[in-house]
C-alpha cells in the first residue's frame, strides 16, 4: 500500500501550464510543493484550475507565480539560486557532534574534541550524552572547558548541549553558567503528575513515549510548567503499532502547541528539524548533519549508528576529517539519505523537507536504504508533516512557525 495519495478523478492537466511539483491530498485540500520547499495549499477546484492553466487575471496567479509554480512565468535564476542554497552543493560539513561519554576517559575526550574542531562549518554543536552526570563528571567538565576555548581560538560559535537522565543542581548550575543547554532524557508514560518535577531543570526534553502514554495536551502543559523550551518526542517502538500510537500522541501535542502558541514558549523539535528544509539540518542525518563518537574513541556516521561496525568510520586517534569521503560507509549513507534515490520519497510532496536517516533504516529494516513503503520511521515523519502542513493556511499556525523562526516561504 502506498503512503502517497492519489486523486479518485485525476484532474485534466494542460501540458506546460504547471511547473514541476509534487502534490499530496490533505483532507479536502491539495498541498503542492516544489523541490525547493515552496508550497501552496489549494482547494480541489483551485488545483484543477492550476493544472489546466491560469492567466494573470486569475486570483491564484499572484499566489502561485511568485512561488514558481507556473511554467510560463518560471524564474529560472531564482530556482537555480534556491537549488544551490538548499541542496548539498552548499553543504559545509556536519554541524552536530554527538559525544557518547559513558566509558570515555580524559585523553579520549581531548582527542574527540580536537577531531570535532577539525570539521569545517560555520558553527559546531557538541551534544554530550550520558546517563548519570556523577559517573562522567570530570569528562563533562573538561569537554565544556576545552570546547569553549577551542571555540574562542577558532573564532567559531560553539553550542554545547548536555543530555542526561540525572545530574545534581550543582552540576546543572555549572553547565548553565558555561552556556550549556541542558536536555533531559525523559520517559513519558500514562498521564503526567503535574506536581512531580523532572530530575533536573533543563531547557530541552528528549521524551520517549511509553506504551501507555496518554493525554498529550497534559504532557505539553507539564513540559511548559517545568520550564522546557523545546521537546523532541520519540515513539516507544519503531513498528507499525508504535508509529500509529506516536502519530496520535504527537498530533495531540502539536494541537496544543498550535492552540497555545501565542503564550507558550514550548517548541516542537521535530517541526523545527523537518521544516528547516535542508537535508543537512535534519537531526541525526548520518554524516551530513551528525557524526558520533563513543567512549572508546570510535567515530560513527550518527548517534543511531553507534555500535554498528558497518557504520564505524574509524578512531579519533587516526581518522582525519578529509578521509571521510573515501570511506565506503560515508558514500553509502550519503547516497541512501538523498530522497531522489528512494522509492516513494522521490515522488513525495515532503521530499524537500524530509528523509529518514540511513542508520535508522539499518537499525529497523536491515539496510541503509530501508524499505520506504513499510518504514515506520517514514510513517512517523509523514504523520508529523501531515499534521503541521494541513494547517498552513491557518494564520495561527503561520504565526507559530514565524515565532519559532521557521521560514515557510
Amino acid at each position: 500500500m502506498s503512503k502517497l495519495t492519489a486523486f479518485e478523478r485525476p484532474p485534466k492537466a494542460r501540458p506546460g501550464a504547471a511547473a514541476p511539483h509534487q502534490f499530496r491530498l490533505l483532507g479536502k485540500k491539495v498541498l503542492i510543493t516544489d523541490e525547493h520547499g515552496r508550497w501552496a495549499l489549494l482547494t480541489r477546484s483551485e488545483y484543477d484550475r492550476f493544472v489546466a492553466g491560469i492567466g494573470p487575471e486569475d486570483p491564484l496567479w499572484p499566489v502561485l507565480q511568485p512561488r514558481g509554480f507556473l511554467a510560463g512565468a518560471f524564474d529560472f535564476d531564482a530556482a537555480a539560486r534556491r537549488q544551490f542554497e538548499r541542496s548539498l552543493l552548499s553543504w559545509k560539513g556536519p554541524g552536530s557532534h554527538a559525544l557518547l561519554l559513558d566509558g570515555m576517559d580524559l585523553d579520549g575526550a581531548r582527542r574527540t574534541v580536537e577531531f570535532v574542531f577539525s570539521c569545517p562549518g560555520p558553527q559546531l554543536t557538541l551534544e554530550l550524552i550520558f546517563d548519570d552526570a556523577d559517573a562522567v563528571w570530570p569528562v563533562v567538565w573538561f569537554i565544556v572547558q576545552y570546547a569553549r576555548r577551542k571555540g574562542e581560538w577558532s573564532r567559531r560559535p560553539v553550542f554545547l548541549i548536555a543530555r542526561a537522565r540525572t545530574m545534581s543542581p550543582d552540576q546543572a548550575d555549572f553547565l548553565r553558567s558555561h552556556g550549556v543547554t541542558r536536555c533531559a532524557d525523559l520517559a513519558l508514560d500514562g498521564k503526567p503528575d503535574m506536581s512531580k518535577a523532572p530530575a533536573f531543570r533543563a531547557q530541552r526534553a528528549r521524551a520517549r513515549l511509553g506504551p501507555g502514554a496518554a493525554e498529550p495536551a497534559a504532557w505539553a502543559r507539564w513540559l511548559e510548567k517545568w520550564g522546557f523550551e523545546s521537546a523532541r518526542l520519540l515513539p516507544a517502538s519503531l513498528d507499525e503499532k508504535g508509529a500509529a500510537a506516536f502519530a496520535s500522541f504527537h498530533s495531540g501535542f502539536l494541537g496544543w502547541l498550535l492552540e497555545h502558541g501565542e503564550e507558550s514558549n514550548l517548541r516542537d523539535e521535530w517541526v523545527l528539524g523537518l521544516l528547516g528544509g535542508r537535508l543537512w539540518n535534519l537531526p541525526g542525518m548520518d554524516v551530513l548533519e551528525q557524526l558520533a563518537y563513543d567512549g572508546a574513541g570510535r567515530v560513527y556516521t550518527s548517534e543511531a549508528a553507534a555500535g554498528d561496525a558497518e557504520l564505524a568510520l574509524g578512531s579519533v586517534s587516526t581518522l582525519r576529517y578529509q578521509d571521510l569521503p573515501r570511506l565506503p560507509a560515508t558514500g553509502a549513507v550519503i547516497a541512501a539519505s538523498h530522497p531522489d534515490n528512494q522509492p516513494l520519497c522521490a515522488q513525495c510532496a515532503y521530499r524537500p523537507f524530509c528523509a529518514v536517516p540511513p542508520s535508522i533504516n539499518k537499525n529497523y529494516q536491515g539496510s541503509v536504504w530501508g524499505q520506504t513503503p513499510s518504514s515506520a520511521a517514514c510513517s512517523v515523519q509523514m504523520g508529523i508533516m501531515d499534521r503541521i502542513l494541513e494547517s498552513l493556511n491557518d494564520e495561527k499556525c503561520l504565526n507559530l512557525l514565524n515565532k519559532w523562526s521557521v521560514d515557510m516561504v
Partner: protein
C-alpha cells in the same frame, strides 16, 4: 523453498540484495535460464512452514525493493549526479591549521599549557 522469477523484472543484483537481507538465516541458491531465475532458499536452522514463508517474503520484498530503487536511482541520476559529483570531487577539506599558532609559536605554547592545566584539573576531580 523454490521460486521462479522472470528475468525482465528481476536482475541478478536484486536477487543478491534479497539474499543479503536474509543474512546468515538462510542460504540462497540461484540458477538462471534465458527467461527466468530459479531460486532456492534453504534456512540455516529448522524452520516452520510459516517461518519459511516469511523468509521467502522477506527475500522477495528486498529483491523487488532493490530493483525498483535502482530504477528510481537511474531515473533521477542526472539530478543527483549534479549534486553528488561536486560534493565528492572537492572532498571534505578539514579546517586548516590556525594561522595564529603557525605565526606565533608562543600562542601555540600558551594554548598547550592551558590544555595541560585543564587536563590536570579534571584528573584531580576523580
Amino acid at each position: 523453498m523454490k521460486l521462479k522469477l522472470g528475468r525482465p523484472l528481476y536482475s541478478a543484483e536484486s536477487l543478491a540484495a534479497g539474499a543479503l537481507a536474509l543474512g546468515t538465516r538462510a542460504q540462497v541458491f540461484v540458477s538462471e535460464s534465458k527467461a527466468a531465475f530459479s531460486v532456492e532458499i534453504k534456512p540455516a536452522a529448522k524452520t516452520s512452514p510459516a517461518g519459511l514463508l516469511a523468509l521467502g517474503g522477506e527475500f522477495l520484498n528486498e529483491a523487488l525493493n532493490h530493483e525498483y530503487r535502482q530504477r528510481v536511482v537511474r531515473a533521477n541520476a542526472p539530478l543527483t549526479q549534479a549534486v553528488f559529483a561536486p560534493l565528492f570531487a572537492k572532498g571534505f577539506p578539514a579546517v586548516p591549521a590556525d594561522p595564529l599558532e603557525e605565526l606565533e609559536p608562543q600562542v601555540k605554547a600558551d594554548r598547550a599549557r592551558d590544555l595541560a592545566e585543564l587536563l590536570a584539573q579534571a584528573r584531580s576531580m576523580k
